[in-house]
């Protein structure tokens, strides 16, 4: 009666309807439901609230959802409250003004349950979607995107027009598309929405398609009257005979198959007087005898009869197996299938591009690790097994610098030249003390430098311990350059790529355009002639070795940025580095580049074909290199003719 009166009153005062129809009175019309909401009853109230168009509704919904709504016990009026020392201070719902402080006992908190809060949240979203605060809008869009739901189509669509942020608008439009594709009511609109996904490579877009195309495997005696995806034959790669029969067992009451283990258990349970199923127990170590005994038991009705392969064939003759779409609309599934196909092609293309980026990044790491060797081994013919430890030395230098300079960018700027200096010095010392005595004995050089490698590694362990030390990259190198959901590359790897390019350029410049490079080439090609022309071969060799080692140090800093710094960091790369130099062709920086590229591409290629196993990828890579050497013993870029020597 009161309701009708209020309603009439509201109608009468239409010009001031907005004033008269205030929130509190609207709530009072649904007082019971608001005070004690249930999932079932809350729907109409929410609709009423949303349709009222009152400006306070979003705020109210948030408070309601957040259990901040109180009801006065005596008259059922709703308030927000703030807790004071003397009790609860009441805040008027409509005006937001503080009215009075009362004893907490006179008030009752409204506690909606989880389901209700969710429903309130859903109703809230449409307000948040048009909230003036862009962060809130973003959040609302994200919450919709996390769980696509049919009810969001209308509010989302409504909010698109008013959206001012271009990126968010695009996102909203996309999301509307996803929702329409999945939950739209009009078949044509859905098909259109699906077809609009044609260029969408995102994980979510692809998920929408596969959700539309979700199918169920059913067994039936006649072709089912449903949206049929395909007919499956038992015994094909898509459905094994066992799995097919299992469906018949669980869904259509066929007798289960009897496994060898079932036979054993059944026989064990039926041993009588040293015999089971008429066969002496001692003879039952033979599967055929066991089956014989079991069949005897089955004939006596003691156990279930075995299901033979012939039984399976018979069952499969009568029953067919069908993948049926959960979606009934054939136009929609057909469109989705078509679009999924094109997207898959595009995804594979993009994956190939991503793989290419990965390969390039791996190649630049190998190049950095190996280019120092290309100089010491390639140009000078000195094999340095301690090269890996020079990489380690560089990485630890980076770590130590970070202990003193806490600004990561600055510490990196200091560490790079310092690492070069440290390993340059180490290289020069090693050349002076050891290598120069062994210039004509390459195998001895190999072993002596191996001794140094062992000693250095253990020394590093003694100083820095066995646990990994962090070498933290500056913040601007964190994160990745994301092109789309398929193609992305981390900034560190880009930086390493740039570093590798830089070194390629620098080395080419040093070797081809400077006096040092000229002298190096002169000494390597004909030391005696070079000496007679006033070049000091000792000095040149020392400098060259220092240069090669110094680059290893810089490579160490670069590698340390993405790998943990341990005493083994160098030995992880040493064999690959040698391979890179050998495959590329000795004595040539371009060769090292070619070798690194080939090894990087090959390794990524194998990983792509067998993604679970990077160990196998390395194994195959090495086998490939061994075979490759068969066809190009001198590497990809080989020196030809008499200059190559014997």
């Amino acid at each position: 009666m009161i309701r009708i009166l209020t309603f009439a009153l509201a109608l009468l005062c239409l010009p001031v309807a907005l004033f008269a129809q205030d929130l509190q009175s609207l709530l009072q019309t649904h007082q019971k439901v608001v005070a004690k909401p249930s999932r079932k009853s809350v729907g109409p109230v929410l609709d009423a609230l949303v349709n009222s168009g009152l400006p306070q509704v979003p705020g109210f919904l948030e408070q309601w959802q957040g259990k901040a709504l109180y009801v006065r016990k005596e008259d059922g009026v709703f308030f927000y409250t703030s807790k004071g020392s003397e009790g609860l201070t009441l805040i008027d719902i409509s005006s937001g003004e503080t009215s009075a402080t009362v004893d907490a006992k006179t008030m009752k908190q409204v506690k909606p349950n989880g389901g209700v809060r969710k429903a309130i949240g859903a109703a809230l979203v449409q307000f948040q979607l048009s909230d003036p605060n862009i962060e809130r809008r973003r959040k609302a869009v994200e919450s919709i995107s996390q769980k696509l739901d049919a009810s969001q189509i209308a509010p989302l669509k409504a909010s698109v027009a008013g959206e001012k942020d271009a990126a968010l608008k695009l996102r909203k439009e996309r999301l509307t598309g996803y929702l329409t594709a999945r939950f739209g009511t009009d078949s044509a609109a859905r098909v259109a929405a699906i077809e609009a996904l044609n260029n969408d490579l995102s994980v979510q877009g692809r998920a929408v398609l596969s959700q539309i195309l979700e199918a169920e495997l059913v067994a039936a005696e006649t072709v089912p009257d449903a949206n049929l995806a395909e007919v499956v034959t038992p015994g094909s790669s898509a459905l094994s005979r066992e799995a097919a029969y299992e469906i018949l067992v669980t869904k259509h009451g066929f007798p289960p198959r009897v496994s060898d283990n079932d036979i054993r258990l059944a026989l064990e349970a039926n041993v009588e007087g040293g015999k089971a199923g008429g066969v002496p127990v001692v003879q039952l170590d033979d599967l055929q005898k066991r089956e014989l005994a079991y069949d005897t038991l089955a004939a006596r009705g003691l156990v279930q009869t075995r299901v033979s392969d012939a039984d399976l064939d018979r069952a499969f003759g009568e029953w067919g197996f069908y993948q049926t779409y959960l979606e009934d609309d054939t136009a929609v599934t057909a469109a989705a299938r078509e679009v999924q196909k094109t997207i898959q092609t595009k995804v594979s293309l993009n994956q190939a591009a991503d793989l290419g980026l990965d390969a390039i990044s791996l190649a630049s790491i190998y190049f950095l690790a190996a280019v120092g060797l290309a100089i010491t081994f390639g140009v000078m013919g000195v094999i340095n097994m301690a090269h890996g430890e020079f990489i380690m030395l560089g990485a630890y230098t980076g770590y130590v610098v970070q202990q003193f300079i806490t600004n990561y960018t600055l510490s990196l700027v200091v560490a790079l030249p310092l690492a070069f200096a440290v390993t340059f010095a180490a290289g020069v010392a090693m050349e002076r003390l050891v290598i120069r005595w062994l210039y004509n004995r390459p195998l001895e050089t190999l072993l002596a430098t191996f001794g140094i490698s062992v000693a250095l590694q253990q020394l590093a362990k003694n100083i820095f311990g066995t646990q990994a030390r962090p070498l933290t990259s500056p913040g601007w190198l964190d994160g990745a350059w994301i092109i789309n959901d398929v193609v992305q590359i981390s900034y560190i790897r880009i930086a390493i790529f740039v570093l590798a390019l830089l070194f390629l350029g620098l080395l080419l410049f040093i070797l081809n355009k400077t006096r040092l490079g000229l002298e190096v080439r002169a000494v390597t090609q004909n030391p005696r002639m070079a000496a007679s022309m006033g070049i000091n071969p000792d000095k040149i060799k020392m400098m060259t070795f220092g240069l090669g080692s110094g680059i290893a140090g810089i490579a160490g800093v670069a590698i340390g940025l993405f790998a943990k710094v341990t005493s083994e960091i160098g030995s992880d790369y040493i064999v690959q580095s040698f391979m890179t130099v050998v495959v590329g062709g000795v004595g040539n920086v371009w060769g090292t580049l070619a070798g690194a590229t080939m090894i990087g591409v090959f390794q990524k290629g194998v990983e792509w074909m067998n993604p679970s196993n990077t160990l196998a990828a390395q194994t195959y890579m090495i086998l490939f290199i061994i075979l490759f050497i068969q066809f190009r013993p001198k590497g990809i870029i080989a020196l030809k003719g008499r200059a190559a020597g014997d």
């Binding site: 030809k640 003719g641 008499r642 200059a643």
Partner: protein, 246 residues
């Protein structure tokens, strides 16, 4: 006198530099031949091609009565076919004795199993003695080859060449660094060898070539410039121009 080795139309280039350019060459058995030419004329490359070390870009190298093509055969096969080579720098196995050096070169089956189960024979020992006699190293048989003088090493290498009993000997500058007496001896060894087989001597020293008293082939820029007796070629104006005139 039948043709033992015949090269025709042989060319090879390294990085664009034509080391041998459409070379034609013939030698019969037995015959002594000297090859002269300035540096870079292709003398060593010529030997590399014949012995299988370098594969020519084009041309044919035919060997023996059956005119077998040698191109594509391995060094060891060619050596087993009967072509022996002495290098410019004496290369003997310095860590082993003179006897071991000669024994290794003796003409015997070369397979690993043949060698593993090889038994020393009286004939073999006698052959080594005879060779040592020929190259003046009888006293040194038990010494390590590394202890020999430069000239003795050259002889030992020639001895190893003879031990292989080849049909064709390729000898690169045998007289380099030898005293006059040693040269005399070397000449004798080579001349005697040439009585039964083909010998090709590459030499710079005109006096030595003159003493060999044989047909001379002059190489220039990878091709034959002139051929004939030493007097004939030394009067050829072209030869004087490119070689002797400098």
């Amino acid at each position: 006198m039948s043709t033992l080795l015949e090269l025709s139309g042989v060319s090879v280039s390294f990085d664009g530099f034509k080391a041998i350019n459409n070379l034609a060459f013939q030698i019969s058995e037995p015959e002594m031949r000297a090859i002269i030419g300035p540096n870079g004329a292709g003398k060593t490359t010529f030997m590399d091609i014949v012995t299988g070390k370098t594969k020519p870009d084009e041309g044919r190298v035919l060997w023996g009565e059956k005119s077998v093509n040698l191109i594509g055969k391995s060094e060891s096969q060619i050596a087993q076919d009967g072509i022996g080579r002495k290098f410019q720098k004496p290369t003997v196995f310095e860590a082993q004795t003179v006897r071991e050096n000669l024994a290794m070169a003796l003409k015997n089956p070369r397979g690993p199993l043949d060698v593993l189960f090889y038994r020393k024979t009286k004939q073999g020992a006698a052959r080594i003695e005879a060779l040592a006699e020929e190259i003046n190293l009888t006293e040194q048989l038990a010494r390590t080859a590394g202890e020999l003088s430069h000239g003795q090493k050259q002889w030992l290498e020639i001895g190893m060449l003879l031990a292989q009993d080849p049909r064709l000997l390729l000898v690169d500058e045998p007289a380099a660094g030898m005293s006059p007496a040693e040269r005399e001896k070397t000449t004798q060894i080579l001349v005697r060898a040439a009585q039964t087989r083909a010998v090709v001597v590459v030499e710079h020293d005109m006096e030595f070539v003159r003493r060999l008293n044989c047909k001379v082939t002059v190489l220039h820029e990878g091709a034959v410039l002139a051929e004939g007796s030493i007097d004939h070629v030394t009067q050829n104006p072209e030869v004087i121009d490119v070689y002797l005139g400098r």
